[in-house]
């Protein structure tokens, strides 16, 4: 006679726990490791004082979040349709934004399951955006004290989570990331130009809000200044979007002098967005390979010991920049971001083409490089990523496995680029700290 097993609740509960033990011990498990905001007398001043700007930011961050899932779950071959529909959705959310700032996983729950470290890095830096806006918005913090509170939150940002963006300039972190010759680089900007340029416009908006506040001070003029920035954004910037990712030093030079560390962390975040989208849009890798590469880039562009010493070493091309004036120079291709890219390219060339190349080949390569760095595809532009385009012109180009692979770093090439930066810019003087009393805000102390 067969014995029957009578399972009661009493047996089921420990059995249930036992079944889960292998999962909990697996090394592959990633922890959430989330950390709360820093408390201060300024918390949520931006929400309370500039609610329409706060909500606009929430709309932009909706797009930032959801773009991950859109790219990861769609095929690159569907890029035209995907780009058009997502840009339309992003604009709809920009004109009718959410009431509350969203974490990345709220609109990208699929990507959160494979790239949570990326989302922690993004959310944490969005927290820095919000708190630094709060500090400038808070009337109860005197104009002279803005620097103290900003430095306090920057310190918290760098120390309390394991993946803050680096306070070093993008010139350093882009070289450290070594992404230019990866097979995904430029895919997003070339094949999803509408969405890409939506983010280029967003990366105009974020810094100029700081700059508008720096010029208007604590008093009622600040309300008007932020409102005017939003007007320029909707009436001009969204209609004719920038052709490059604008850096803090270009469009918020005064705030970059107040906190070079925060300015660089924002640039490093904005570039990380673009690189993550490139990786997710690229069809040639598996999900595991994409995850490995994203983790590598997140770490490479993170805060590393000594980065703070380099924080203020960047040029200020237009120290008296007018954030309310959306001029040709702001809109165009020429600027700091592409200068950095061109410099990196020159630094890599001796290693990739040790025997040199003809002038014609060099001219062709530079033409393709320029086209690849521009959003969209132009007549004569080769298909694929930057690496695929230049490889077709320079078939003898020497590439290491590490420089092209997923999750790997070509240390030799990275060091070569960092040496190149030291030679060119190692002696760059640090930007001069700003004297808050020289700016308009001092007359509005409350």
């Amino acid at each position: 006679m067969m014995n029957t097993i009578n399972l009661s609740y009493r047996h089921l509960f420990p059995l249930f726990l036992l079944l889960l033990c292998p999962f909990t011990q697996a090394n592959a498990l990633e922890q959430r490791n989330n950390v709360s905001y820093l408390r201060g007398p300024y918390n949520f001043a931006f929400y309370n004082r500039h609610n329409s700007a706060y909500r606009l930011q929430a709309g932009i961050h909706f797009a930032h979040g959801k773009q991950h899932d859109v790219l990861l779950l769609d095929k690159q071959s569907n890029h035209k349709k995907s780009d058009a529909s997502f840009e339309e959705e992003s604009l709809a959310m920009t004109y009718g934004p959410p009431r509350i700032e969203p974490p990345m996983e709220l609109y990208a729950p699929y990507s959160a399951q494979s790239n949570y470290m990326l989302f922690r890095a993004i959310d944490w830096t969005h927290m820095l955006h919000e708190q630094t806006y709060d500090i400038l918005s808070a009337k109860n913090i005197s104009w002279e004290d803005k620097k103290y509170w900003t430095d306090r939150i920057v310190k918290y940002y760098l120390e309390e989570l394991d993946v803050p963006r680096s306070p070093a300039p993008l010139d350093i972190t882009m070289r450290r990331a070594g992404t230019m010759m990866k097979p995904y680089f430029t895919v997003f900007r070339n094949y999803y130009p509408e969405s890409n340029n939506y983010f280029f416009a967003a990366h105009w908006w974020h810094p100029v809000v700081y700059e508008a506040m720096m010029l208007s001070g604590n008093g009622p003029e600040q309300d008007d200044a932020v409102r005017r920035i939003n007007e320029v954004y909707f009436s001009e910037v969204l209609k004719k979007r920038p052709m490059r990712m604008l850096l803090s030093r270009e469009v918020m030079p005064r705030y970059s002098r107040l906190s070079p560390e925060a300015a660089n962390a924002f640039d490093n975040l904005h570039m990380l967005h673009g690189i993550a989208y490139d990786i997710m849009a690229y069809d040639g890798w598996t999900l595991e390979q994409k995850t490995a590469e994203i983790k590598r880039v997140v770490k490479a562009m993170s805060y590393q010991p000594g980065d703070e010493e380099l924080a203020a070493k960047f040029p200020l091309p237009r120290p008296d920049y007018d954030p309310f004036e959306y001029d040709d120079q702001t809109q165009g291709f020429e600027g700091e971001m592409n200068r950095i890219m061109m410099e990196m390219w020159e630094e890599m060339m001796p290693m990739m083409m040790p025997d040199g190349m003809s002038q014609d080949m060099k001219k062709n390569v530079m033409t393709q490089l320029r086209m690849k760095l521009m959003p969209g595809m132009e007549d004569g532009e080769k298909q694929g990523s930057l690496m695929e385009a230049v490889k077709s012109i320079m078939p003898k180009m020497k590439m290491s496995e590490e420089s092209m692979g997923a999750g790997t770093t070509d240390t030799k090439m990275v060091n070569m680029m960092l040496d190149g930066w030291k030679k060119k810019h190692g002696d760059t003087p640090k930007v001069e700290p700003i004297q808050m009393s020289l700016y308009k805000g001092v007359s509005y102390n409350e």
Binding site: Y9, F23, Q31, N34, A108, S114
Partner: protein
């Protein structure tokens, strides 16, 4: 100490800890808390160093058609990475119960992992239930295992949850069980950026031998402000030992 005095002191303490001004932190409508508004909870802890005051008002029409009301105050704190501690202080009244302090509770939750494509997020919570209610004399331990898994590929943030708990019934009378188990499964999704819809099904052993209650619940959680989440939910009992109905209004305030 008189139990009502104890309750008053605890509730006063929790109220004093509540925020006074703009000293706040973003609350999170997607982070399900027990009975805010449904029994189902998720495996996600509050962030390290986050603080939250939670209030809930529960109504229940019991299986013998009596009314039970409970006003509950809680304090939650992210004490370590991936961990939270909580204190619950309920005050109950109505024909179904002896008016006064209910069973106060202290709990700690630890989250083991962020979910991956295949592995759910998992958490374990340990609770101590203190004998602050009428007819209670012993501290009772309770443990709960929690799993959360995102499903589908849409951006609607759809998740399923499973909770399994065990409680030692140290205050048992004759004809009562020594161990009490309960199970719950739930589903939630984002209706719009600020609103979450939640469902659950609960099966819970009652202390009296041979009696189990079953409950089906539905609720909403709404992010009213970056620091405030409000919630409401209701449920109906299934089976003769189950309550007829339940309703909850909740309020969470991060500071």
């Amino acid at each position: 100490m008189n139990k009502n005095v104890f309750a008053a002191i605890l509730i006063l303490f929790l109220t004093i800890c509540s925020p006074q001004a703009n000293d706040l932190f973003a609350a999170d409508h997607t982070n399900l808390e027990e009975n805010l508004p449904l029994e189902i909870t998720d495996a996600i802890p509050t962030p390290y160093m986050n603080r939250e005051v939670q209030s809930a008002f529960h109504y229940e029409r019991t299986e013998d058609s009596k009314d039970k009301y409970e006003a509950e105050q809680r304090l939650e704190y992210g004490i370590f990475l991936n961990s939270q501690i909580e204190v619950h202080v309920p005050y109950q009244f109505g024909r179904a119960v002896d008016e006064g302090l209910g069973v106060t509770e202290a709990a700690v939750l630890y989250n083991f992992n962020q979910e991956s494509i295949w592995i759910p997020a998992m958490a374990l919570s340990g609770h101590a239930l203190f004998p602050t209610a009428e007819d209670t004399d012993e501290i009772e331990p309770k443990a709960k295992f929690i799993m959360t898994k995102t499903i589908g590929r849409s951006s609607f943030f759809q998740r399923i949850h499973a909770n399994a708990s065990w409680q030692k019934n140290n205050d048992r009378h004759e004809n009562e069980r020594k161990d009490l188990y309960s199970w719950a499964i739930g589903y939630d999704c984002r209706l719009n950026p600020e609103t979450l819809l939640v469902f659950d099904l609960v099966r819970e052993m009652l202390p009296e031998k041979g009696k189990d209650m079953n409950l089906a619940e539905i609720g909403l959680r709404y992010q009213l402000h970056p620091r405030v989440v409000i919630s409401m939910g209701g449920g109906a009992g299934l089976g003769s030992d189950s309550p007829h109905t339940r309703a909850t209004f909740g309020f969470q305030y991060s500071f």
